[in-house]
């Protein structure tokens, strides 16, 4: 393939600018003392101070993080078990059925997941609030964990397990010392994706949250419907920094994990 032409560079640059412009636009006006998103008056930190003074908002951020961490942990555990269960199934038909069912929640629109979970919780009698939100987040994160772990399990050669067996490893040893270390990158990827699914979710939470409980997305929605508040801008500045940080950590971890694997393969 030839070198990059100027047209290609130009096109990519435009796409990058369009993708990042709204985010920097938000952050830029978070320093505006004027209180609007149109005319920049002078530099101020007051909106950031407002974020930290708003104890209700802090509580909501706290709730969001707790739900994300808990749901990512539980869904990773269930997802890994699910992937193992799928791999051990010898019946092809049953395996494919499970895989199709697994993908239903991934392709389902959020509105459907939200509405159907709302019906489910009402039918079973779960009170809407922290519990219903957490359970929903666990439920819609499980399939992505399975999809991240499954390819790793499938590419693992059977001889590794046979070798471990021949060397006298018990079933448990095979799992904790051979299988889990091998599929670790997949588990990490699944965990991080589950985390971002949860942090990013709006629609499902919007349906299943009661009056007393709110996550950041839902809160931003109600704030945005009320109009422009630069507190949201300040919040997005903070979220942007945290997100970029998370991405970098993930990227670094991924790189470290990937190197030995490819090293063996080549």
């Amino acid at each position: 393939m030839g070198k990059q032409s100027n047209i290609q560079k130009f096109f990519l640059t435009i796409v990058f600018i369009i993708l990042y412009a709204p985010i920097f636009f938000l952050i830029f006006y978070s320093f505006n003392s004027n209180g609007t998103m149109s005319s920049f008056e002078s530099f101020t930190w007051e909106h950031y101070a407002a974020v930290f003074e708003d104890t209700r908002l802090i509580m909501i951020v706290f709730n969001t993080v707790i739900v994300a961490l808990l749901s990512a942990l539980v869904s990773t555990a269930v997802g890994v078990l699910g992937a193992l269960a799928i791999v051990y199934l010898k019946n092809r038909k049953l395996r494919n059925t499970l895989l199709s069912l697994n993908n239903v929640l991934i392709v389902s629109p959020d509105v459907i997941i939200g509405a159907s979970f709302l019906i489910l919780f009402t039918a079973v009698g779960v009170r809407l609030g922290f519990a219903s939100v957490l359970i929903s987040h666990i439920a819609f994160s499980i399939p992505i964990v399975v999809l991240m772990v499954l390819p790793k399990l499938l590419e693992m050669s059977d001889s590794l397990i046979d070798a471990a067996r021949d060397l006298g490893a018990s079933g448990r040893d095979v799992l904790t010392r051979v299988i889990i270390p091998y599929i670790k990158p997949g588990i990490f990827a699944g965990f991080f994706l589950a985390l971002t699914y949860s942090l990013d979710d709006f629609a499902v939470t919007f349906f299943v949250t009661g009056n007393g409980f709110s996550t950041l997305s839902v809160e931003i929605y109600s704030m945005a419907r009320a109009g422009i508040t630069l507190t949201i801008n300040a919040l997005s500045g903070l979220i942007f920094i945290v997100t970029v940080g998370l991405v970098l950590v993930y990227y670094a971890l991924n790189r470290r994990n990937r190197t030995p694997v490819t090293g063996v393969k080549k």
């Binding site: 796409v15 709204p22 629109p109 509105v111």
Partner: protein, 274 residues
């Protein structure tokens, strides 16, 4: 090889999840769709769905989703293609993906400011002499913001598909005298069709059911299937009608999946695994 009982143990939590959160919710939606607002068993909701109001709504929802998918694809394909040719392509890809990790609500909120009466776009229009126009609460702003949101999700599977393409095939095509356009049409595009299909899948289905962007950006001008469901469930509290629309949305979803499904194990949406 582990014994059967441990394997069965693996299946319990996962199987329970499938039963409780995949099968039961869909069954419940179908069940609720058979009841009217007073709790009587009836097919009235389905009759209502085939009335002109809901058919029109469905059609317009499909039309918007089609436009959103088309524009996303038109931007995402070249972007993905050019990305695979950059030197540090994984890093560039990461940079493209980062905005998709920023909370959806925040990005949508940004456009309230950007498209606003005194926002930068209108300031620009005023500067070049067009004068300020109403941008917010129009079809245009709705489609623009949706395309903006979906571009990264469209780029990812297409990038993976192009990246997996064997460059020798392109060289071969060139050596055999094909023009760049013919090479693209006959070699590159068919071989990356799986990526395009998963891109369409991850864009079209959510685009049918958007409700947050319609509310914040399009006001009440654009009503999609998603907005209608939200309205029925959370505002009108008519769960029966909401479930009926949901049943149709689920049907559409399966039809789209059928069209965009792929035989390849794992699928391009999973990312580069091998």
């Amino acid at each position: 090889m582990q014994n059967k009982s441990t394997r069965a143990l693996y299946l319990i939590p996962y199987g329970a999840w499938i039963l409780l959160f995949v099968i039961a919710p869909i069954a419940l939606v179908v069940y609720y769709s058979l009841f009217n607002i007073h709790g009587d068993l009836t097919l009235a909701n389905y009759r209502a769905f085939f009335s002109s109001i809901y058919l029109e709504l469905t059609l317009s929802s499909f039309w918007y989703a089609f436009l959103i998918t088309l524009f996303s694809l038109l931007i995402a394909y070249p972007t993905a293609y050019f990305l695979t040719k950059t030197k540090n392509k994984q890093l560039w890809l990461l940079l493209i993906i980062i905005p998709s990790w920023i909370n959806l609500l925040l990005k949508t909120y940004a456009f309230i400011g950007i498209f606003g009466q005194y926002g930068p776009i209108n300031a620009f229009f005023a500067a070049i002499g067009i004068g300020s126009t109403q941008l917010l609460f129009t079809d245009f702003s709705f489609i623009f913001v949706s395309v903006y949101i979906f571009i990264p999700f469209m780029i990812l599977p297409i990038f993976n598909a192009i990246d997996r393409l064997n460059p020798a095939l392109i060289d071969a095509s060139r050596d055999l005298g094909a023009s760049p356009w013919t090479t693209f049409r006959k070699v590159i595009l068919p071989l990356t069709m799986n990526g395009v299909k998963s891109g369409i899948q991850v864009t079209f289905i959510p685009a049918l059911s958007l409700f947050m962007i319609t509310r914040l950006i399009a006001g009440n001008k654009v009503i999609t299937l998603g907005t209608a469901i939200e309205q029925q469930f959370l505002v009108t509290q008519n769960w029966g009608m909401g479930s009926t629309i949901a049943v149709f949305l689920i049907l559409f979803m399966f039809i789209i999946m059928l069209f965009t499904g792929q035989k390849e194990k794992g699928g391009a949406s999973v990312g580069k695994t091998k």
